[in-house]
Amino acid sequence: MDHSDSIIEKAKAGDQRAFNKLVGLWFNRIYNFCLKYFDDHDLAMEMTQKTFIAMHRHLPGIRDNDRLKYWLYKVARNHCYEEGRKRSRGTWLSLFQSNEAHTQQDPYFHPERKIYSTEKKQWVGELLQRLPEEQRTVVIMKEFENMKFREIAEVLDVSENTVKSRLYYGLKSLRKQIDNSGFNYREEI
C-alpha cells in the first residue's frame, strides 16, 4: 500500500477529500491490525477510529511523510496497549456477555472442546490473545501485516534483534499452546 506525498500534503493543508483518501488507504490495514490484537470487531473499530481521529489532529505536525505508516501503526498499537491495560485491571462481566467469554479466561479451558463447533481461524485468534502483549504485537506485525523487521523495530522503538527474539518466543509459545490443546491442526486445518 503506497500513498503519494501530494495527498498527504493536501490533507495537511486541510483538504477533506485528500484526508478521506488517506483514511481509505489505511483504514483496512489498521482495522485488521487492531482486530488481530483484540479478536473483537467492536474494539477494533473503536481503536481504528481513535487512530484516525488522532491522525486528523496531528497530521500537520508530521514532518516526514514517509514515516506516516510507522506513525499510524505506533498510534494504533499505543491505543490498543492502553485499552488492553484498562481491561486487564479488572474483569468486567457484561450482563449481555455469554458464558463463552468466561470459559476462554479459564486456565483449564481447552480449545479442543469447542474447535469442531467454531471456525478454525477464530481458534487461532484466541491463541493469539494469550501471548504477552509485546510478543503478540510483533507476531501480528510480521505474520499478518508483512512488515519488515526494520519497520517493526522503528514502530516499537527497539532493536531488530529484539524484534526477532520476541517473534521467536511468540511463535514458540503459540506452538506450545497448539500442542497442549491436543488438536492436530495438520489434519484438521
Binding site: 477533506q16 484526508f19 478521506n20 483514511v23 481509505g24 483504514f27 483496512n28 482495522y31 485488521n32 482486530l35 488481530k36 470487531h41 473499530m45 481504528t48 477510529q49 484516525f52 481521529i53 486528523h56 486456565p107 483449564y108 478454525k120 481461524k121 487461532v124 485468534g125 493469539l128 504477552p132 507476531v139 510480521k142 505474520e143 499478518f144 523487521f149 527497539v158 532493536s159 534483534n161 529484539t162 526477532k164 527474539s165 520476541r166 517473534l167 521467536y168 518466543y169 511463535l171 514458540k172 509459545s173 503459540l174 506452538r175 506450545k176 497448539i178 497442549n180 491442526y185 495438520r186 486445518i189
Partner: protein, 269 residues
C-alpha cells in the same frame, strides 16, 4: 537450543533473511542436529496455522473516522448536546405531569398542588358532622348487640355438649375397671417389646445408610481433590515454563542492549 544466536538464526531462516551462503550452512547444521531441525519444522507449522487467520474483508469506513464528522464533533456538538438534554428533561416532565394528572391551583385560601382528583374546597356544616357521628354510633351499637346474642347462643350449645361428654366418660371408666390388672400389664409388656425391636431395626438401617453415604462422599471428595491438584500442578508447570521463556527473552534483550552500548562506546573511543 536455548542460546540467542540459534534463536536469531532460526528466525532469519524462517523469514528468508539469510544470504545464500548462510542459508546453506544453516541447512547443513540442521542435517546434523535433529533437535534444531525439529524446532524449525515446528516453527514452520506454527506459521502455517497462523496463515489460517485471514484478513477481514473490506469494511465500510464508519462516518466517525471522516474529517467532516470530526469537525462537526469539535465545532457543533458542544452546544447541541446541552440543548438536547434540556429539551429531553422538559419533555419527560411534561409527560410525567400529564400521566399523573398533576395540577396546581391558586385562590384566596392559598396554593393547592395535587395529583389525580382536584381537592374539593367545600367544608361540611357542624350539624351535618353531628348527624354523621350519631348515625355511625347507632350502627355500631346494633352490630354489637347482634354479635352478643350470637356468642350467648354458642356458649349455651357448648355447655350442653360438655355435660354429655362428662356423662360418657364416667360410664367408660366404670367398664374398664372390670379388666384384670395382670392382663393389662402383660399387654403393656408386649407393646414395649415390639416397640424396642422396631426401634433397634430402625437404628441399624439408618446407621448403615449413613455409613454408606459418608463413604461415598469421602470417595468423591478425595477424587475431586486429586483432580484439582493435578490441574493446579499442570498450570504451575505451564506458568513456570512461560516465566522461564520470558526471563530468557529479557536476558537476551539485555545482552543485546549491552552489546550495542559497548559497540557505541568503542566507536566513540
Amino acid at each position: 537450543m536455548e542460546n540467542s544466536s540459534n534463536h536469531l538464526d532460526i528466525i532469519n531462516y524462517l523469514y528468508d533473511e539469510m544470504d545464500p551462503e548462510e542459508k546453506r550452512k544453516f541447512e547443513e547444521r540442521m542435517e546434523h542436529d535433529s533437535a534444531l531441525k525439529e524446532e524449525v519444522e515446528a516453527m514452520m507449522e506454527t506459521r502455517n496455522s497462523l496463515g489460517q487467520m485471514t484478513d477481514h474483508d473490506e469494511i465500510d469506513i464508519p462516518v466517525k473516522a471522516t474529517p467532516s464528522f470530526i469537525r462537526q464533533k469539535q465545532e457543533t456538538f458542544h452546544w447541541i448536546k446541552p440543548l438536547v438534554s434540556v429539551a429531553a428533561v422538559i419533555m419527560i416532565l411534561l409527560v410525567t405531569g400529564y400521566l399523573t394528572r398533576f395540577t396546581i391551583q391558586y385562590n384566596e385560601k392559598g396554593l393547592l398542588i395535587s395529583f389525580g382528583e382536584t381537592i374539593s374546597n367545600q367544608y361540611a356544616e357542624k350539624s351535618e358532622v353531628d348527624r354523621m357521628i350519631k348515625e355511625a354510633l347507632s350502627g355500631q351499637q346494633t352490630t354489637f348487640h347482634r354479635e352478643l346474642t350470637k356468642t350467648n347462643d354458642s356458649l349455651k350449645s357448648l355447655s350442653s355438649l360438655l355435660t354429655q361428654y362428662n356423662h360418657d366418660l364416667n360410664k367408660g371408666t366404670s367398664t374398664s375397671r372390670m379388666v384384670s390388672e395382670a392382663e393389662l400389664n402383660e399387654q403393656i409388656a408386649d407393646w414395649q417389646k415390639a416397640n424396642q425391636t422396631l426401634l433397634q431395626n430402625y437404628i441399624q438401617v439408618v446407621g448403615k445408610q449413613q455409613q454408606e453415604y459418608m463413604q461415598d462422599v469421602l470417595v468423591q471428595f478425595s477424587d475431586y481433590l486429586q483432580e484439582q491438584r493435578e490441574k493446579d500442578l499442570l498450570m504451575i508447570r505451564q506458568n513456570l515454563i512461560d516465566l522461564k521463556d520470558y526471563q530468557d527473552q529479557q536476558k537476551m534483550e539485555t545482552n543485546q542492549t549491552l552489546a550495542s552500548i559497548m559497540k557505541t562506546v568503542s566507536q566513540q573511543k
